[in-house]
Point group: C2
Chain length 464, copies 2
Amino acid sequence: MENPTLRSEILAIVNADAVTFVGHHHPDDLHDESLHAAHVEPFAVVRPSNTQQVSEIAKLASRHGLPLTPRGSGTGLSGAATPVPGGIVISFSRMNQLLEVDVDDHVAVVQPGITLLELNEELAASGLRYPVYPGELSGSLGGNVNTNAGGMRAVRHGVTRQHVLGLELVLIDGTVVRTGARVMKSSSGYDLTQLIVGSEGTLALVTEITLRLSPQLAHAVTILIPFRSVENVTRVVPSIVASGLEPSILEYLDVLTMSAITSEASLELGVAKDVAAEAAAYLIVMLETRSSEQLEFDVAALAELVEKAEALDVYVLAPGAAIRLIEARERAFWVAKASGANEIIDIVVPRSSVPSFLSEAGEIAERHGAFITGCGHVGDGNVHLSVFLSDEEKRRVFLHELFSLGVDLGGLISGEHGIGRDKQAPFLALTDPTLLTIQRKIKAVFDPEQLLNPYRLLDDRPLP
Amino acid sequence: MENPTLRSEILAIVNADAVTFVGHHHPDDLHDESLHAAHVEPFAVVRPSNTQQVSEIAKLASRHGLPLTPRGSGTGLSGAATPVPGGIVISFSRMNQLLEVDVDDHVAVVQPGITLLELNEELAASGLRYPVYPGELSGSLGGNVNTNAGGMRAVRHGVTRQHVLGLELVLIDGTVVRTGARVMKSSSGYDLTQLIVGSEGTLALVTEITLRLSPQLAHAVTILIPFRSVENVTRVVPSIVASGLEPSILEYLDVLTMSAITSEASLELGVAKDVAAEAAAYLIVMLETRSSEQLEFDVAALAELVEKAEALDVYVLAPGAAIRLIEARERAFWVAKASGANEIIDIVVPRSSVPSFLSEAGEIAERHGAFITGCGHVGDGNVHLSVFLSDEEKRRVFLHELFSLGVDLGGLISGEHGIGRDKQAPFLALTDPTLLTIQRKIKAVFDPEQLLNPYRLLDDRPLP
């Protein structure tokens, strides 16, 4: 895999400290957080500092027919950012600036490498925030755009897609273009911005993102509500959504996930012993308002709603406990990983189908000798399950049945993690072939030689 | 233009009462509401009753290489639905059913011919509503999807794009496909639903739409606020948006538009004579809340905000007057048309650039001997101007300068009316050619023979 010409061509684009070559890579660059991501050595990992360098790298990849794998923070869960042997990884870790905060227009312009944590820390003083909350705060905005990241606040604020107003893109031939504008309305041609969001780096390289921000809300409270059954939780959800209370967070946790994350985080939430003993599932609701008076009204209205739905109790959490519970919830994935889960799925079904999905999923799991445990963004039908079934072939069959159930209920393979490599089998098997053909033709419009993040999403060739 | 074979092939697809042929068309079918839409006679206007018939018509058009022009209610303002001589107009007036209201998932499934008025009337009892409010309530949802209609409530609720969860489409070869799902999150391939929204019927025929609904809010108030200058109005807007009050409507009217629409609607709003004499511009704000207590808080907070910004007064309108004012505002287009306006534009610029845009637009108009008057969705930067300048060539030059100003300020040609035929010149002249090339290639993916709504948007060939 030695190629001295290529090496010197790369070194003509970026400084020596901005590239590593095969045999000398940092191990963190060789995988994402997929449970199945074996470390793969690319020819080079390049860290451009600006769009011009990204453009030059794209031209070089085109010239040599080399695979180009874009990479943010590497926190993806589907193997979308694992390298290709012999290819180039383009890491955006040095393009991580907040370029502008436009307070009047509620807009931030960022580079793709900035993390959610950095962005919101830098925005703190402005009175604005980026309201999408995909949990893993070390994730990069570029990665968020490419997977259309969702998270806990989607029930109120929507997902990444609704917050991307415009993009700067580098095409595979090195051309730099800008899509969209700093506006909320457009009827001026096909929406290329929206086409790129969620495309997993397969269409173009995102080098700048114009984001819509929201005002920070001064008053917030987090409420924990234990229920006797998962069905009770999922049944109360539509009435909360219908109430107009607009919760920012509406999460459910089954009792196993709850006890795992609270013990991992040493959380004491004040749930009475007898209630805890009876509880089979928990709902977490966050309310955020502009005034403290409104918050009081809203909490009372919520309490009334859930009591009608046979909640075992209603706990308004102390601020510290609330933050730690939300953070612990976000670590559910790591808890599952540490417990030896064999697969993580994030199927999304219509909100009202969550109860059927969970109960049928349990039956399917039992039939296949699989163990599943979960939590989920129940406000938006995005169910996260950890699957424990070590035999690979048995797991494949089980997962196909599970995904088929979700699709039969009107759902989709992934709500927010993306397809990457890990979900290609169900995605390609369960999507209308005509839709796949259209998507492959669109891919060919942008990247006829299949150099941009190949071997993902629509392209299930085995890695070379 | 007589073609007996074609005639009988069409009559084999739909009943005789569902088609008119050249020479016998209803004049309403031959134009839209563009100021420049001359009546054009197609070979046939067909009114299919179901998706199967739409598919058969698409196959027939493909077989004969005939232009196919989709048509909703014909309320478009850009000439996107005017027929092509010798072509087939496919009118969705008979596919106008609300197929399903899913109260738990907050979803409605509709056919494209249903109007906004019909939809919201049918939803009234459900506690839900379709919150997008593009004003012309006789507009069809299919038309709304194809132009990505916006309207007055976009400042809070977003535009059509954010409310379309899925589509049933007929491709030009007759294939029927479904995109999206009844879910708010997806990271499962390229978002074809979003690609179709705003594509002006040039990519596929929309035969069914899955819409996201919102809870109806019980309490609402409309507030009219006169200001000494347009600049004062546009300067206060960012602070209202930043406040978190989330107004459903945030509109400005210059004093000419205000007096035209109020006299046309014989509206008496209770504005004191001395205030009216001093007022140069008005802001209309609608607040909607879940509880009456919250509404009181919010009105007080708004009053405080605008008083700081030198509002001349604050009028909380009586419910009847409020509804009539909003309706009258929606008729601003008809007032402009009746006054002999030569062009209507709906340019969109970043919210904070509206003051610069308006003042520079005034200077440009003066230089070109044009008269402009306007109103606009100032909460989202969507400026509606009526242009009075009868000389066609002078108008062309003036408009190019006006659109260039908007684009230089970071804006786009159309916020909600679409490009159609009327805005092709500035759209094609002021859009990055690389972006146009990509869009043309995407068009070719869906419709290689250019049969779907040709002569619009990217295709500026003269009509045959």
